[in-house]
Point group: C2
Amino acid sequence: MFRALADATRRDIVRRTLIAEATVSELADSYDMSFAAVQKHVAVLEEAGLVTKRPRGRERMVSGNPEAIRRAQTLLDQFEQIWRARIDRLDALLDSEENE
Amino acid sequence: MFRALADATRRDIVRRTLIAEATVSELADSYDMSFAAVQKHVAVLEEAGLVTKRPRGRERMVSGNPEAIRRAQTLLDQFEQIWRARIDRLDALLDSEENE
DNA sequence: GCCTAGTACAACCATTTGGTTGTACGTTAT
DNA sequence: ATAACGTACAACCAAATGGTTGTACTAGGC
């Protein structure tokens, strides 16, 4: 999941497909690499659940999945919580020292 | 940055060092891999700014950097915004169709 | 002063990653 | 019907990744 977001091209694909659906070849036209390369990126994103693909005729419509984004946010939020807890403990420690 | 978070061991190091500072060897003891491997993970995290290292005697204290976490959150928030904008546009479209 | 603990760093290795080209196959358009 | 389009997928390649061991250097403990 974070691995999928680790590549700039893939992040851009996620961004684009969150804005609006796009076919694989539409996406491929945007980047300076082969169709197959973009196809692979989409496959990685799909496996990570960041994107879904649905057939429309001979095309595949790719669309970004906000659910997955939120899951990533949740993990980072947990880190934030952990950090806050640490600060709280330090504050408590300082308070108790003040009263000595 | 996302690349640094893509590895489970590294995420755990970030988590631990957000809770409390730890020396490199303290961290190394926790994982089933060589000291050097953990050292490399810390180096990757440090380069990504997710962690800072400061010397204390012969030890290096590693601590998680909440700033970097927030930067990652910001990026995901932008994705969320993009998604909301899309929804808004679709809603507007549906509204206009209703009035035909 | 000397051994040990903690770290840094290089060299090496297997696997994964991000890219390529080529081939095959279903769908659409003419 | 057939040509062209959009996609899937395999084979291949170079570079990056995640790990190892070995060596060297510095700070502390005895």
